[in-house]
């Protein structure tokens, strides 16, 4: 019975872990996209509107 409980727990934990990792991949991709976008905006801002605030 103990073995059984342990196995079950391990399986659940692994499932949770893989869900976490999947979600983390997504967030990482989004974060990269965000970075890219920020630098694009700032580049444009620098090139074309040197005075304006990048966050405006």
């Amino acid at each position: 019975l103990l073995e059984n409980v342990k196995n079950q727990a391990t399986e659940q934990l692994q499932a949770s872990e893989s869900r976490y990792l999947a979600q983390k991949q997504i967030a990482q991709a989004l974060q990269l996209e965000l970075l890219e976008l920020y630098s694009k905006i700032e580049l444009k801002t620098m090139n074309t509107w040197p005075i304006s605030d990048p966050n405006s």
Binding site: K24, A27, Q31, L34, L35, Y38, N55
Partner: protein
């Protein structure tokens, strides 16, 4: 026992706080004892894994906030904790609409600031704040709006004259209810007194907050009855003298026992 007993000790505590805190009676007390030696954390082998998960969660959330430029390396830690908590509970404001903290934010920040004085490690500290705030909301959210009435009730039993004086000068609605019942006295009581109150809150009673408030009023009855304006009462109570608080809390706990018996589940 690992090399840093304090850390394990806290891990054990915040675990209780996060998951089984309501049943634990002495949690904060245990946590905050000066000498944790001899206390073996439960399930110490699983602690490592749990700590690792929490560290990752802390880094994930704070990292994302930095990427979104909500925070930067010099953001005060309490503000970081606020944003982290907002993100985790799906209440992060739009960055374009960031405004001054509202009352709820201020309450969170006050609790965070008080916790920070107690806990050094940022991961532990955030975990404890988060646990405290969430647990408080889930467990007592419905009771909190009734606490001012409850205060009136117990004050009428303890000192009807004081109550009627407060009523006469119109000071009742202006009592610092946010400080008392939403911040749980964070920022209003010195650390050691605060810990004793929070310990009771964590063990499952928000009614202790009422009794602390009653005892504060009773202890400063003469001062309070010297004020004629509600604002004066409010200002005094919002900046309470810090000398007498241990005695006030002790009396409050006695009062609580008196009115609620063995108040394990008195809400």
């Amino acid at each position: 026992m690992a090399d840093d007993p304090q850390r394990n000790f806290r891990s054990a505590y915040y675990e209780k706080m996060g998951f089984r805190g309501v049943e634990e009676k002495k949690s904060l007390e245990i946590l905050l004892k000066d000498n944790p030696l001899g206390v073996v954390p439960p399930h110490s082998d699983s602690q490592a894994l749990v700590s690792q998960y929490r560290l990752q969660q802390f880094e994930d959330v704070s990292g994302a906030l930095r990427a979104m430029r909500f925070t930067h390396p010099s953001t005060p830690s309490t503000e970081l904790y606020l944003r982290m908590h907002q993100l985790e509970s799906n209440r992060l404001p739009r960055r374009a609409q960031l405004s001054a903290p509202d009352t709820e934010d201020e309450n969170f920040l006050a609790v965070a600031m008080a916790m920070e004085e107690i806990i050094d490690d940022p991961v532990d500290c955030y975990w404890l704040i988060r646990g405290f705030v969430n647990q408080f909301r889930i467990k007592f959210g419905d009771s909190i709006p009734h606490l001012p009435k409850s205060l009136e009730h117990f004050l009428s039993l303890e000192d009807a004259a004081l109550l009627s004086y407060l009523r006469t000068i119109g000071a009742l609605p202006g009592l610092p209810f946010d400080l008392w019942f939403r911040r749980c006295f964070a920022g209003g009581l010195p650390e050691s007194s605060l810990q004793r109150v929070w310990d009771k809150v964590i063990s499952g009673s928000c009614k202790i907050l009422v009794f602390v408030a009653v005892e504060i009023l009773l202890s400063y009855k003469i001062v309070i009855m010297g004020f004629n304006h509600p604002e004066a009462v409010h200002n005094f109570l919002s900046n309470l003298p810090q000398e007498n608080t241990e005695a006030i809390v002790t009396k409050a706990i006695e009062l609580w026992h008196k009115h609620c018996g063995t108040p394990t589940h008195a809400v």
